[in-house]
Amino acid sequence: MKNVNSMQLAFANDLFTIKQKQKMEMINITIDNKPLQVEKGQTILKAARAAGIEIPTLCYYELDGVKLENRPGGCRVCVVEVEGRKNLAPACATEVMEGMVVHTHSLRVVNSRRTVVELILSDHPSDCLVCSKSGNCELQSLAQKLGVRDIPYQGAQSTYRKDMSPAIIRDIDKCVMCRRCETVCNVWQTVGALSAVNRGFEAVVATAFEQDLVKSPCTMCGQCIMACPVGALSEVDNTRQVITAISDPKKTVVVQTAPAVRVALGEEFGMEPGTIVTGKMAAALRRMGFDYIFDTDFAADLTIMEEGTELLGRIDKFMKGDKSVKLPILTSCCPGWVNFFETNYPDMLDVPSTAKSPQQMFGAVAKNYWANKLGIKREDMVVVSIMPCVAKKFECQRDEFKENSNPDVDFALTTRELAELIRQFNIDFDTLPEEDFDQPLGVSTGAAVIFGATGGVIEAATRTAYEIFTGKKLEKVDFKELRGLEGVREAVVDFNGTPIHLGIAHGLANARKLLDQVRTGECQFHAIEVMACPGGCIGGAGQPFHHGNFDIIKKRYDAIYREDAGKPIRKSHENPFIQELYKEWLGQPCGELSHHLLHTHYFDKSNHIEIEG
């Protein structure tokens, strides 16, 4: 297998690094009496952190693995004293200079920093006891750290209506105007739902015309929640509905867990990031009283059967000269991404795969096949999904995924909500034994696990499509050229003489780059995989908070591939229960029943300009 594009890229990167090193100029500064040699052009904050000196921050946010930085220099929490300078300097926005002498915790700095936090707190509700962010709030920990025991400034507090969407809650009273959400929404996602509006005390981060989030171009990706240092942005809490369903004897409650959850859930219980807790998670769900512990991974294998067949069908038609066929095929697993192309690429709605996401495929199988097998009505079955994602909450409420207003998936909980439930049920997660999922909808392959990481869906599809396309057995299932955390990746995979061009993007700004090339015909791909969140679902907005620490995402990423490598079966089409499902019920991939139950269609959600008559 050759991979020309990434080799070229690697070469270009090397050249870039060499040039950077030549340019890099070192200067001498002193921070807290410690003489340091630091790179010119850096900020005081970065130079200090590199030297192990911590300066507290609030509005500053960095996700270095994907080159995302929010640096408005607005909150003034990171102020430091620079000798020879009259006023205090914000460390996040001040460049180091030769001979600079910096004090990060002089009396003046400490007093000023505390005053800044006291002022922020004077316009912040103090309902920490019942705030969903409590324990994970950066303002709360800052106040603790700085020893704030009193809020001396009392005055008017700004108030704003609460905005409830199916996935995200905006409680702007808690907003500290750090603008981290705005940067993520505009720079990393290019969604443009949020902007600072109004002025002075009235200033808020809001949508255009301050409409509800559902009426804005918001994709519900929820990365704003991940960026928010406080509780101004949070996910809709569905835990109570799930507890009610579990305790209702008339309901059969089926749970499915997404691949990325098992490599992150442990963090909520103090485990090292990247700890794989698949078995403990299954055990916890069983103790909580779910009737069937199934796996979204099963549906991921099913997705590969459907999406892979669809891809090969399109390639086959294309090679036979059918010019109407749409290539590349775009993956459709990520609900944030689906919302994004429905809003921004309404002219290309026939390009993405029509395959439903694994969550929704699972719901369709559970409420049609499994309910039938159990001899119960679909209304008596409740399907709960555990997702690393908040957009899944929106997805499961889409009308096309309901039958007689009964949804295929009733509730989508985030990884964080599952952790909350486990705590509520007094389950000691640490001491749980490793248990298995239930059969048959809990059995999956390594190909399904990697759906949780960027590049994983396309690798899983490649493993199956290769064998079907070439009729040969794939000896080496690891496609290393499809892996990595670069925002946009391209690779060519050799299907026994036929080069298959694949594109991968994580983050919607990166997806936009690829999509724009496809729209203009500049780039010819056979398939493109898109995930909205950094690193894929492992960096999803439903996961434990990483507070900008990209190493956590990297560790989850490695864990996903470790889980894959440890699986006895690593190709979706070899999953015996998938084979059984087709034999017993579905017939053929992309057959009539699949078409009806496992595929969907998309809607134009763009902002049209209509000419008035």
Binding site: G192, S195, V197, A208, S216, P217, N607, I609
Partner: protein, 159 residues
């Protein structure tokens, strides 16, 4: 998302203005200034078109419009009333005059009457301090105004 409804000639005018600034996102303020000069105000649909032309989000344009007090999303009345609140006018009772306009028209500052006839605004110094307090209605200047005179003036326009 709402569908934008605007007449073709309005859309073309907005596009023309955007193009005259090279459709550059950095020219947003100038574009908004010119478009407001053309239409008198910046309704949501107009901001949507500007955002599309400049390839920025509508939220960003709305952010600019709400930040600068010069920009307005409300249409001005047929007879825009501006009460000078500059120092000289203020000390000679501009506020009482303003209150009388508010009472008489049942409007707050920045609003336009339902029939579209009057809109009420404040401004700072028109350079006619000798006539303080001063009120402008359209281009016409009214000086040495007292609250008692407000009703008579409005009646001139109510006909």
């Amino acid at each position: 998302m709402a569908k934008i409804k605007l007449s073709e000639c309005k859309i073309n005018k907005i596009k023309e203005i955007c193009a005259s600034f090279g459709n550059k996102p950095g020219e947003a303020i100038n574009v908004l200034h010119k478009v407001q000069g053309e239409f008198g105000y910046l309704p949501a649909e107009v901001q949507d078109v500007i955002a599309q032309e400049l390839k920025v989000s509508t939220a960003h344009i709305y952010g600019i419009v709400t930040f600068y007090s010069f920009f307005t999303m409300l249409p001005k009345g047929e007879f825009p009333i501006s009460v000078c609140m500059g120092t000289a006018c203020y000390v000679r009772g501009a506020e009482k005059v303003l209150d009388e306009f508010k009472r008489e028209l049942n409007l707050t500052v920045g609003e336009t009457s339902e029939d579209g006839k009057f809109s009420l605004n404040c401004l700072r110094c028109v350079g006619a301090c000798g006539l303080a307090p001063v009120v402008l209605i359209g281009d016409k200047v009214y000086g040495r105004l007292t609250p008692d005179g407000v009703k008579d003036i409005l009646n001139e326009y109510r006909k």
